[in-house]
Amino acid sequence: MPSRREFLTQGAIGAALLSLPRLSAAADALKLQPSELPPGALESAVLEALPGKAALIKRTFRPPNFETPLEYFNDVITPNRVFFVRYHLMNIPQVNERSWTLKVGGDAAGATAEFSLSSLLAGFEQVEIVAVCQCSGNRRGMFVPHVPGVEWGVGAMGNARWRGVRLRDVLNAVGVNKDAVEVAFDGADSAVHDKTPDFMKSLPIWRALDESTLIAFEMNGEPLPHWNGFPARLVVPGWTGTYWVKQLTSIDVRSQPLKSFWMNPAYRIPRGRFALVDRFTSQETDVSTPITEMVVNSLVTNIAPGQRFDAKQWLDVKGIAWDGGYGITRVEVSTDDGATWRSATLGQDLGRFSFRQWTYRFAPAQRGRYTVMVRATNRLGATQTFELIHNPAGYHHNVVQKIPVEAV
């Protein structure tokens, strides 16, 4: 009769087979979409590859909105070919990096300048940062009641090692006047109708001058994919993807707030509803404020709802956690409907803006049905919510997941 310890060791391979995902791509990627998505979203999802990308979950073809399937989040870095794609406007030109230029100026800039890719690379220090890019509306499809928009599941996000130059260094090279309040950004994408608002975004001056804000040329050691902003995009670690302007073409240092549909009424959250730190005061109104940093969140990446495992063994639960750039300090798992919480083991720290991997071994005392719940906490003590904080645009969904499993 083997002791429990021996049994566990000998059983390791068997348990691994039971508990690891067998996500052979295609059909499984669609099957693993959150069941809370609108029925029409589940039915209209297909796996399709954009040129140069692997097959992703298609939400809309044009403009292209493609989501990363769950299985890829088992790696802490999201590969370029599976990194999600999100566009607002349908004209997305192929940019030639040799003729590409970045214009920098504005009424609150000391000068006007135009940079080529080579002059930016040669003229400024190059830095790297691992950071999560997450769409403001990631998990919008899980809102109850539903709100209109791109009905994303959990995969409108990715974590990459970005390389580029600091926006601050480029701004300081042209000069920033004392009256600068915002810096605005435009990309090469455009609308088909002149009445459709061009996609332009701004950052408060303090965020533009933060040392983590980059003009990035590379992602995971390669040039940016076309669909992720080639040849250069803004990287605003900690803040939601709306500010990470792709195919960047101009930078405007402003003494007045940017008036753009994409700043107001789009990408707004009700004031006072979320416990956020970063404020964008020049764009605030009495009722709403621009979305800023991401809320604390986590994702189970390796088990499917209803998954069965051997009750004499265990279930290895694996996932990621992230926040708005303060750093994840704790991930806890409950398997008794929230009565008790135990710490998961955190993986390698790739920096405060990165996904943080975690693992938890659930060895149940007996057979039965269990619910796996996970919540992350950051350095500020902020954590996830159990009740959705509903808002009209469907942002900041960070409700604790509840995944039913069965020990048999």
Partner: protein, 92 residues
Amino acid sequence: MRSMWILILTGIAFAAVADESKVVLKDGPNRDLVMRSCLTCHSVDYVPLNSPFLDRKGWEATVNKMINAFGAPIKKEDVPAIVDYLSRYYGM
């Protein structure tokens, strides 16, 4: 001239993005009007994607947002027929 550009650009976008032509809305009165109205700016998969949870008021608000916020070239007199179709086939 302007509409020619739209046709050319639309053609480029269709060629660049895989298989949008497979997306066909449910058969019914005014389907062609709806597809024609939506397709210049976006693929029509936005419609099933956002279904079925909008009531008539919700679809009306969405169509008006396309016109007022995004400048969709939809005639005011076509709005009721478009909303009829969307709320009947993709509404709650």
